[in-house]
Symmetry: C2
Subunit: 661 residues, 2 copies
C-alpha cells in the first residue's frame, strides 16, 4: 500500500508513473514539520536497518551517516563524502516497523540516518514543496517491489550491451581504437564495444567529429563493425559557444539554453571551454537536443553515454572575475598563511560553485525556475532527451544509453555508471554495495569503471574487479588520461584476464535472463542477503556478498594478496568454480562459514539449494554465443526458466523456456 | 646472520647500533646495479610474502603496490598514496627464500613490490651511496628479531603513557582543558593525559606560552596534576622569525638554523608564519634545541609530541614570488581551462614543494649537505634532540615522547603516532595493519588518532576505534579544529564509551608487561598471524586480526552497523568478552571460523590455547590501578609471567612474577 502526502506546491518531476490520490493528514510513523524547512523525523529502534538511496556512499545498510542528494561531479569518493552524481531519494526502514519513504523533491535533501543521534532518522529539505510517499509492506523487499511499480519499468538495453567493453579517456586517433580492437581479438578476449571519450569530437563539440581523425566517421563505424565492435560515443551536457557551430547557433536562436536572471544565456566552462547548457527541462529544448543524437545514429552508432550532466561546471566568467580580484589583492601584499589558504580554496571551489548553480534558470512550461531548485533533474532530463530522440528514430528499437547524473524516473530512460571512481580496492567494495541500492531505486543497467578510473591500477586489482564486474550489467574497463594503461592486454599473462572475461560470456544467457526478468517484473537483479535471508542474523549484516537474480550468490574477492576469502553460506549451496583452463568444478557446501580459494584467473559463484543455472561456451562477442552449447550447473532435478528474445527490438514477449537438469 | 654491503659513501644515519663488517661482493639473492641510480631487483616466487616498511600504506603483506620512503605531510591517506610521514626501509621476503633487507639511505627510495610486474621486487634510490644489509633467518619473525637487535632497543615510555588521552586541535583556554578534565572525571571515564595542540603557545612559538591564557603555565600544570591529569604539549619544527624571541635570536646568532645556498637562514612558512628550521643534523644545534625542552619540564611537563617535522612546509618566500608572477599573468588574460588548472595546481603544490627541499642545507660536522639528500632524517633528529635534552635533565627518568616524522634509529628515542588520519572506517583497518609493520621496524610506542583526526566522526566509529585502540600503546582520541567534537562525553550513552575505556585500564598490567618484554627482548608487541601461524595458509593471509604480546589474539570490528564479525581461530582459543556491566564472559572455541557478536560497548579478545592473562579492576588513572584486584582469565593450569616496574625510572630490573591459574 502506498500513501501520498503533498506539501506545498511540488515541482512535477515525472518520477512516478502511477497516479496516487493524495492522503490527508500526517503519515503514521514519524513527525513532519513544515516551518521554513521540511523536516521528517523518526525514532529508529536498535534493530532497524535502513536501505536505499541508490548511488550513495557507505553501506547497503545506510545507518550511521548522512547523505545529501545533490548531484555532484566530485571524483574523490572517500568515506566522508555525502554527495555523488545521482539523487535517489528512496529509503526503506526495516525492523520494528517496515515502511518505505520516497521524497519526490528535485533540490538538495539531507538524510541524516543516525549520524547526529544514533537512533534518529531525519530528512531535511530547504523548501516545503514536495510529494512524500509512504510505502507499507511486509518486508523491505516487498516495499521495494511496490515502489518499483510506482516508478515504472526500468530501461532495457540491447543484448549486445551485456558484452564487455573497453574505454579510456585519451584515445584520440583511429589507430588508438584499432589497436584496442586488434589486441583484444589477438588475445581472444571477448569484447563487444569500445567507448569513445571526449576526444572523438571536434574541440569537444557535441555531435561533431574530429576533423583530423574522424572526418569519415561512418566509414570507421563500419570498419569496427566488421570486427564485431560497436563504438559507443560520449555526449556532454555543455554546448560550446562558437559562431558557426550549428548546435550553438540553433540553441541561441530558439532560446533552448539555460538563461541568467537578465535573460542572457548562462555561460559555464567545461571541456570545450565556455559553453551553454541546453535547457532540458524545457520540453521543446529537450526535443531539440534529443533529435541531435540522430546525427550519430545515422552514422551507424547504436548507443551513447551522457556525461558531465550534473551539470558539472569547471568555472564561470563570474568565478574568473572573482578570482582575478582576489589575485590582484594577493599580489599587492605580503600574504599571510590565511591569505594563501584562502586563495587555494578559492581556486579549488571555482568548480561546481553553489553560487553558479543559483545563477541560471530553466523555462518550464513558461515558468522561470532557478536551477538550484531543480538541480537534481538535469542529468535525468538530458538522458530523457536522448531516449526520446532515439525513440523518434525507431520506437521499436533498443539503444544502449546511460548517464552519469540521474534522479529516480531516469531509470526508465537509461542506465547509469557510477562515475569517476579510483583504482582502489575499497572501490570494489563500494561498487558491490552500491549495486543493490541502485536496483531498489529502479536503476538496473548499472556498473562501475572496472579497474578504477582515476589513479594507477594494478594487474591484481583489475583481475579481481573484473571478476566482480562479470556480474554487473555494465561491464566496462575505463580509465583516465594520465593514469597507467589498463586495457587487459597491458599486463603479464594476458590469458588470465581472458579467462576471467570468458566467464562473463559463458554466463550471458543467465545474466540477460535474470536482468530481463527483473526489468519486466519490476524486481531486483542484485539483492542484498538481508532481502533473501531476512531471518538469518548473520546474513542480514553481510554486505560483501550479493544475490544475483534468483539462483546465484556471489562473494567477490576484494583484498590485495588474497588467495581466497571466507564466505558465509546462509543455506546449503553448490559452489561453481570456473577454472582458468575453461573447466568447471562444482562442490556442495553446507550452510555456514567456509574458506574458498579463488585464484586470480578463477571465478566462483554459489548456486542456491535446489537450483541450477545455464552456462554456455565462451564467444568473442555476444552475437556469436552458441546457445546450443548450453549446459546446466547446479542441483540435480532442478529447473531454470530461461528468458531470451531478439535482443534488439522492444518485443519483450514472455518467451521463457523451462530447462531441466 | 647479517651481511652488510657498502655502496659509495653512505651518510652515517646512526640507524644501527652494532658494527657489522663489510661483506665484499654481491648479495646472494637478487641483482644490484649501481649506474647513476642504485637498483636492487629480485624475482619473487608466487608464494613469497613481503613484510615491513613500517608506517606505509596498504597491507601487512606489502606485495602488489609501490611505496616511496619520503617523509611527507599529506593528511589524505587514500589507497594510492605512496608516502606517509615516516621512512622505514626494512623489508622481509618470506616464502621460497627468507631474507630481510635494510637500506640505510636517508633520501627518497622507491620499493616497487610487484606493482610494475607482479613478480618483480625492485628497490631504487637516486644515488648509490648507501649501506645495504641482508639478514638471513629461518623465518620472517626470526629475521625481524635479528634486525631489531641490529638497530637497538626501542624507546620505553613511562607507565602513565599507557593511559588514555584526550586531545584536540582547537583547545585554547584553560577552561577548554578544564572542561575536558571535568567531563571525563564526571563520567568516570579513565584518563591520564590531555594533549596540548599548537594553541597553548604564544603565536605558535616553540617553548613559549600564550600570554593571555597560560601566563602561569606551571600553576596550571599543577592544577591538572591534582586531578591526575598530565598535560602533554606539542613542539613544532619551525622556529618563528621574530625579533626579541630568544630561541630565534640564539639560533640566528649561533648558526643553528638550516641555511640556503647563499649562507642565509632558510625561510619556510608553517603555523607561526615564516620560520627557520633548527639544523638538528648539526650536533651543536641539536644539543641546543634539545636543551630547550627543559623550559617546559621545569614547569612540570613530563612528555611531548614533536610535530611538523618532515619538515612540513606550507610555502616559502620563493614559492610566493613564483605564484605572484603566475597570478600577474593570469589576471591579464582570458584564461583557458588549462590556465585555471595550472593555477589550481600551483596553489596546491605551494606546500611541501620539492624545489624547496632542494634549496636548503645542513651543517654536518662542517660538511654542507643539501636537505633533500638527507630529508628522511629530520624528524628522527628533532626527536633525538628532545630525547638527548631530556636525558640531560635526568638520565634515569623516562619521558613520554613521540614524533610524527621518523626514520629507523628514531625508534630508540621515541614513539610515533601515525599522523593526520581521517574519520574513516577504512582507517581503523589501516591502523590495524600498520601496527605490526611498525614493530618490525623498531617502533613499539605507537598508535593512531582514535576516532579520526580529519573529517567528522560518528559515535559508532569512535566506539569501534577505541575498542581497537585499547590494544595500541598510544591510546589517544584526537581530532582537528573544525570537525565534529569527538571527546567521549559528546555522545549519547556516554557510559558505553566509558565501558570500552574501562577495559583498557583493566588490561594495562598485561599491555605494559607485554610491551616491556617486547622492548627489552627486541621483540614484537603486535604480530601478524603469519608470524605465529606460519604454516596455516588461511591465517597467513589474515590482516584484520592481530596477535598482541604472546597470549592474545584480537579481531576488531571495523565496519559500520556490524553487530559482530566472523573470526578465524588458527587454534583452539578462549574468548574473553568484557561486557558493558563490567562482567567478563569466557567461552572456549574450536579452531576455525566463528561469528562472534560484539556489542558497541563490549571488547572481545581471544586467549591462545594453554595461556592466561591478568585482568585488574578499572581505575580512573594508571597510578590508581589496584594490582591486588588482579585475576587471571584463560585456560586452567596456565601460567603468566608478569613484568612490572616503577614505571618511571630506567631501572628495568627483570623483575617478573610467575602467576598461576
Amino acid at each position: 500500500m502506498i500513501k501520498k502526502y503533498i506539501y506545498g506546491t511540488p515541482f512535477d518531476t515525472e518520477a512516478t508513473v502511477i497516479d496516487i490520490e493524495k492522503t490527508e493528514g500526517s503519515p503514521e510513523y514519524g513527525n513532519i514539520s513544515c516551518e521554513n524547512k521540511f523536516c521528517f523525523e523518526y525514532e529508529m529502534s536498535e534493530k532497524d536497518m535502513v536501505f536505499g538511496l541508490g548511488e550513495s556512499n557507505r553501506g547497503i545498510n545506510k545507518r550511521g551517516y548522512y547523505y545529501i542528494s545533490n548531484c555532484t561531479d566530485d571524483p574523490q569518493h572517500t568515506e566522508h563524502k555525502s554527495s555523488f552524481y545521482g539523487a535517489h531519494n528512496f529509503i526503506v526502514i526495516s525492523g520494528e516497523k517496515n515502511f518505505g519513504i520516497f521524497i519526490d523533491y528535485p533540490s538538495s535533501i539531507c538524510f541524516d540516518i543516525g549520524y547526529t543521534h544514533s537512533d534518529k532518522l531525519s530528512i531535511i529539505c530547504e523548501s516545503c514543496d514536495l510529494d512524500f510517499y509512504v510505502i507499507y509492506g511486509e518486508s523491505a523487499y516487498d516495499i521495494v517491489k511496490q515502489f518499483r511499480k510506482l516508478i515504472g519499468r526500468s530501461y532495457i538495453p540491447p543484448k549486445f550491451a551485456f558484452g564487455f567493453a573497453q574505454s579510456r579517456w585519451g584515445y584520440k586517433t583511429k589507430e588508438d581504437y584499432r589497436e584496442v580492437a586488434r589486441e583484444y581479438r589477438k588475445h581472444h578476449i571477448p569484447i563487444d564495444m569500445i567507448y569513445m571519450d571526449i576526444d572523438y569530437m571536434e574541440d569537444f563539440k557535441d555531435f561533431t567529429f574530429n576533423k583530423q581523425n574522424f572526418s569519415d566517421f561512418d566509414e570507421f563505424v563500419k570498419e569496427m563493425k566488421q570486427y564485431d565492435y560497436r563504438l559507443i560515443p560520449i555526449i556532454d551536457a555543455g554546448v560550446k559557444i562558437e559562431k558557426g557551430y550549428a548546435i550553438y547557433e540553433e540553441g541561441v536562436e530558439n532560446n533552448y539554453f539555460c538563461k541568467k536572471e537578465d535573460g542572457t544565456d548562462f555561460i559555464a566552462a567545461v571541456w570545450p571551454g565556455y559553453t551553454h547548457f541546453p535547457d532540458v527541462l524545457n520540453k521543446e529544448a529537450r526535443k531539440w537536443f534529443g533529435s541531435k543524437y540522430r546525427i550519430l545514429t545515422e552514422k551507424g552508432i547504436e548507443g551513447f553515454w551522457n556525461d558531465m550532466n550534473e551539470p558539472a561546471i569547471f568555472y564561470t566568467p563570474e568565478g574568473i572575475e572573482r578570482i582575478k580580484n582576489h589575485m590582484k589583492k594577493f599580489v599587492e601584499k605580503q600574504p599571510s598563511k590565511n591569505d594563501v589558504w584562502f586563495m587555494k580554496d578559492e581556486m579549488l571551489y571555482l568548480a561546481n560553485h553553489s553560487s553558479d548553480y543559483a545563477s541560471f534558470y530553466h523555462n518550464v512550461d513558461g515558468q522561470k525556475i532557478r536551477h538550484d531548485k531543480v538541480h537534481n533533474l538535469y542529468g535525468y532530463n538530458m538522458t530523457r532527451a536522448a531516449a526520446e530522440g532515439l525513440n523518434e528514430i525507431d520506437s521499436n528499437r533498443r539503444y544502449l544509453l546511460f548517464s552519469r547524473s540521474s534522479y529516480i524516473g531516469m531509470h526508465r530512460y537509461g542506465g547509469i555508471w557510477t562515475g569517476d571512481n579510483m583504482s582502489w580496492w575499497s572501490h570494489i567494495l563500494l561498487n558491490i554495495k552500491m549495486m543493490p541500492s541502485l536496483n531498489m531505486c529502479g536503476f538496473l543497467y548499472i556498473g562501475a569503471d572496472l579497474g578504477g578510473f582515476g589513479g594507477d591500477t594494478t594487474r591484481e586489482l583489475l583481475l579481481r574487479w573484473l571478476a566482480f564486474g562479470i556480474f554487473t550489467p555494465i561491464m566496462r574497463n575505463h580509465s583516465a588520461d594520465g593514469t597507467r594503461r589498463q586495457e587487459c592486454y597491458q599486463f603479464e599473462k594476458v590469458e588470465e584476464l581472458k579467462q576471467i572475461i570468458d566467464v562473463r560470456y559463458r554466463l550471458i544467457p543467465y545474466i540477460y535472463s535474470e536482468y530481463m526478468k527483473a526489468a519486466l517484473y519490476d524486481d531486483m537483479y542484485f539483492k542484498p542477503l538481508a532481502f533473501v535471508y531476512a531471518h538469518d542474523d548473520i546474513a542480514k549484516e553481510i554486505e560483501d556478498q550479493l544475490i544475483i537474480g534468483n539462483e546465484v550468490m556471489i562473494a567477490p574477492v576484494y583484498t590485495q594478496n588474497a588467495k581466497g576469502r571466507s564466505v558465509y553460506l546462509p543455506e546449503n549451496m553448490m559452489m561453481v568454480k570456473f577454472l582458468g583452463d575453461g573447466s568447471i568444478q562444482t562442490e556442495q557446501y553446507q550452510k555456514g562459514y567456509h574458506y574458498i580459494a579463488v585464484a586470480l584467473n578463477e571465478v566462483v559463484l554459489f548456486v542456491r539449494e535446489g537450483k541450477c543455472i545455464p552456462v554456455v561456451d565462451t564467444a568473442e562477442c555476444v552475437e556469436k554465443i552458441d546457445m546450443q552449447s548450453m549446459q546446466l550447473f547446479g542441483y540435480q532435478n532442478s529447473e531454470y526458466l530461461l528468458y531470451d528474445d531478439d535482443g534488439i527490438t522492444k518485443q519483450y514477449t514472455i518467451n521463457c523456456k523451462l530447462l531441466k537438469k
